[in-house]
């Protein structure tokens, strides 16, 4: 089946190349059949790549070690779910996943727009196929997943233990979906610029794709953060690591674009800005894909220097210069049709929000690439850490939350000052009460966090008020019950209320971030069974040691009893799993302590706070026993090895040496995930296709028909 996979990849590359040629020829000559053929090349590409993915997946699922990739990343003992997901745990497999996802989204988008955007679509097709050809070319020539293992091993190396978690396996496909989805608005922007058709039709199509990409990438980022918090042994969810930042940057510019595109729609403003923004988002998405596999920045994710760095660098340079040239050469057509009528308008808020978001992106960009920048300027590579990032992103985030509350309260075009003051009274009071109340409760020690809480209360107040007023306005006309009115209101104004919900979700996220960053209590402590430690108002007692054995690992851990003022709160069981190393020179017991080790965090999540703990058993103290067992029974395998390990485990449980615990009490962490869910729901509502005016059923259609009649009579 290896050859079938190879053939599929090569065919994919050829199909992509053909599609580029056909689309461009069809666009220049005006011959529709070539344009259609080019579009169908995308469908064919998706089909062919599906074959390639299916072949590779099948190989993983049946543990076909004749595939070098399968032997290197899976094994017969790897559970089925992880075997399926192991496909993208490698460079080659992840490239294939990326281009496959790209082909799927491209097919979907081109199918949905097959009768529209006639001048733009062929160029967009060519751009999308260009990306596909690049990635397929990388796969075919530099990182081919279909390589023969020679000789064929009897057993595979197994999946990296750190990846054996459901979130970790969903995280890459989600992120890749986000990145590949952002190439779609990029491609349509390039097409629209080439065809000089940056108009309402382009806006309508592009916005939807950008929103989908934004949603998926955002969820992917949050899943990664959650995995980091609940699975990794360091006790945090965001480290300003270059690869984390690389995924956040296109998301920020994408958010800016989703707002500023409305300005172009309503006022014909900011065309050059929008074009540049969506192009930049696409470039940043490619850059994100590149950073993970290039090794140019020191990062926990940067997987060593690889041969793919140079081609990516060439591509990114091409994209940057190409985009810049395109916008510059079309600059006459990108002048504004209208202007900001008033600073007191939602449009003005959008301009501000764009500045803040782009500013945030710039800060993160600068900090992330600083090692390269400083090397270029001073010859010495230097890096900035989380304190630097926090210093600039926190105030900007604060302004962002305030704007996200102010925006929904202001009317489009030109707000009435008196009405605005009236609208803001309630939410400002809410913010004030929150600030005062929290200050009294002792939160004033962290003024920035206090400000964020107040801003979030303000924003939540605006959103609730808007929903309330909307329902009231609707009921004045329709006489529905409040819940029915709410549903109808949201259904009819999906973008507006979906957007408000996203703002609410973001405010909740920032509350969670502010609280957990500013008021976290961390305590590293060494305990023996029976001993106590205090952290964040809680009393933690090390009850006893635990152990467990399985085919692939030895697990040593602890039971901790958490109580507050005498009342039992939680029982935590952090553990550390020790996987066997693949080294024949090591003894039967020692081999487990020279391989990978992963922490299982003991976590009690709660609405008000999370209690987090990780344990680091003192293996050094166990070393004499391990050495003794290895020396007495150097050749033990199978059953006898199991017995030795059981003996070690029993000794650990009976006489555990003091273990190091990291204890963290972090307030409102769960609010981050909750806020993400709210924002995600809002995004879905905004994305959900409303029937077009033509297809709408009464009474909305009646409203529009009435409007049409009125206008035609004028």
């Amino acid at each position: 089946m290896l050859n079938l996979g190879r053939a599929a990849l090569t065919l994919a590359l050829s199909v992509a190349a053909y599609g580029i040629a056909a689309s461009l020829y069809g666009a220049r000559s005006g011959r529709r059949e070539w344009v259609e053929s080019g579009r169908r090349a995308v469908y064919a590409l998706a089909a062919v790549l599906t074959v390639a993915v299916a072949v590779l997946e099948a190989a993983f699922l049946r543990s076909d070690f004749s595939f070098r990739l399968v032997g290197g990343h899976s094994s017969t003992t790897t559970p089925t779910f992880y075997r399926a997901a192991a496909m993208w745990s490698s460079q080659e497999g992840s490239l294939l996943l990326w281009v496959w996802l790209l082909s799927l989204w491209s097919s979907l988008v081109l199918f949905l727009t097959r009768r529209r955007l006639r001048e733009v679509a062929p160029y967009a097709t060519a751009v999308l196929l260009g990306f596909a050809a690049f990635f397929a070319g990388l796969a075919v020539f530099l990182a081919n997943p279909f390589q023969l293992a020679d000789p064929v091993p009897a057993e595979g190396a197994g999946l990296q233990p750190l990846l054996r978690h459901p979130s970790m396996m969903i995280h890459p496909p989600m992120l890749y979906s986000g990145y590949t989805l952002f190439t779609v608005p990029f491609a349509f922007a390039v097409g629209a610029l080439i065809a000089r058709r940056l108009d309402a039709e382009w806006i309508r199509a592009t916005r939807r794709f950008a929103l989908a990409a934004w949603l998926v990438l955002g969820v992917g980022i949050l899943i990664g953060a959650r995995w980091s918090w609940s699975e990794l042994g360091w006790g945090g969810y965001w480290a300003w690591d270059p690869v984390e930042n690389a995924s956040l940057m296109p998301w920020l510019t994408g958010t800016a674009f989703l707002h500023s595109i409305m300005m172009q729609e309503k006022r014909g403003m900011m065309k050059a800005w929008n074009a540049s923004l969506v192009l930049a988002t696409g470039v940043l998405a490619i850059m994100g894909t590149f950073l993970v596999r290039s090794g140019i920045l020191e990062s926990i994710h940067a997987f060593g220097a690889s041969t793919l760095g140079l081609p990516f660098l060439v591509l990114i340079t091409l994209l940057i210069f190409g985009s810049g040239f395109l916008v510059w050469s079309r600059r006459t057509g990108l002048g504004p049709e209208g202007h900001l009528e008033s600073l007191l308008s939602r449009e003005a808020m959008f301009v501000l929000n764009n500045l803040v978001l782009v500013g945030l992106c710039f800060v993160i960009f600068w900090g992330t690439f600083f090692p390269l920048i400083s090397e270029a300027v001073t010859g010495q590579k230097a890096s900035v850490g989380p304190p630097w990032f926090n210093r600039y992103t926190v105030p900007l985030a604060l302004v962002l939350v305030l704007l996200s509350g102010l925006g929904p309260a202001i009317a489009w075009r030109r707000a009435t000052a008196r009405n605005l003051r009236h609208s803001l009274r309630g939410p400002l009071a809410a913010g004030g009460v929150a600030a005062a109340g929290l200050a009294l409760a002792g939160v004033a020690t962290r003024p920035l966090a206090l400000a964020m809480f107040a801003a979030a209360a303000f924003t939540a107040g605006v959103v609730v008020q808007e929903l309330w007023r909307g329902v009231r306005a609707r009921r004045a006309v329709s006489r529905e019950s409040p819940p029915a009115a709410l549903v109808a209101l949201v259904r009819r104004n999906r973008r507006r209320y979906g957007g408000y919900l996203v703002h609410l979700g973001m405010a909740v996220i920032f509350v969670g971030v502010a609280a957990s960053s500013s008021f976290q209590r961390v305590h590293d402590v060494r305990l023996s069974p029976g001993q106590h430690a205090r952290v964040g108002g809680y009393d933690v007692r090390y009850v006893r040691a635990t152990s467990a054995l399985s085919n692939e690992k030895v697990t040593l851990g602890a039971i901790l009893d958490v109580s507050k003022e005498g009342r039992h709160v939680a029982t935590l069981d952090p553990t550390r799993g020790y996987f066997r190393a693949v080294d024949a020179r090591l003894g039967p017991v020692g081999t487990y302590f020279e391989g990978e080790a992963t922490s299982e965090v003991g976590l009690r999540a709660g609405a008000r706070r999370d209690i987090w703990t990780a344990v680091q058993p003192d293996i050094g103290a166990m070393q004499p026993l391990i050495d003794r067992l290895d020396r007495r029974f150097p050749l033990a395998t199978g059953r006898s090895q199991g017995l030795l390990l059981a003996a070690l485990a029993a000794r650990y449980e009976a006489q555990p040496p003091p273990a190091v615990f990291r204890l963290i009490v972090s307030p409102l962490v769960e609010w981050i995930w909750l806020g993400g869910a709210i924002a995600g729901l809002g995004g879905l509502i905004a994305l959900w296709p409303a029937p077009t005016f033509a297809r709408r059923r009464a009474p909305a259609a009646a409203k529009v028909r009435r409007l049409r009649r009125q206008l035609s009579r004028a």
Binding site: Y18, E36, D199, Q710
Partner: protein, 89 residues
């Protein structure tokens, strides 16, 4: 077996891609479809009119401000409808 599957795959891809080319020759030149752009602009303008009304009903605009904005928007909508009629002519 592999060879058979590969051949089927290549054949299917070729069939999908060449289908439009094999159809009866339609040497139509793509007309500048300005109409769809104006239609999209018109729909966006309708949206704006309804948005302005919602802004008024949720208390963001005074009645006089609303009337003024509504009038302006309807004027812009009419202009778009006129352009649409001109396209059809």
């Amino acid at each position: 077996m592999e060879l058979l599957l590969a051949t089927i795959m290549i054949g299917a891809a070729a069939a999908i891609i060449s289908a439009p080319l094999r159809r009866s020759h339609r040497p139509r030149v793509v007309a500048r479809s300005a109409r769809t752009a104006i239609e999209a602009a018109r729909d966006a303008k309708y949206r704006e009119i309804l948005d302005a009304e919602l802004d008024f009903r949720t208390g963001k605009l005074s009645e006089s401000d609303y009337r003024e904005i509504d009038r302006a928007l309807r004027g812009e909508a009419i202009e778009l409808l006129r352009r649409l009629d001109a396209e059809d002519a």
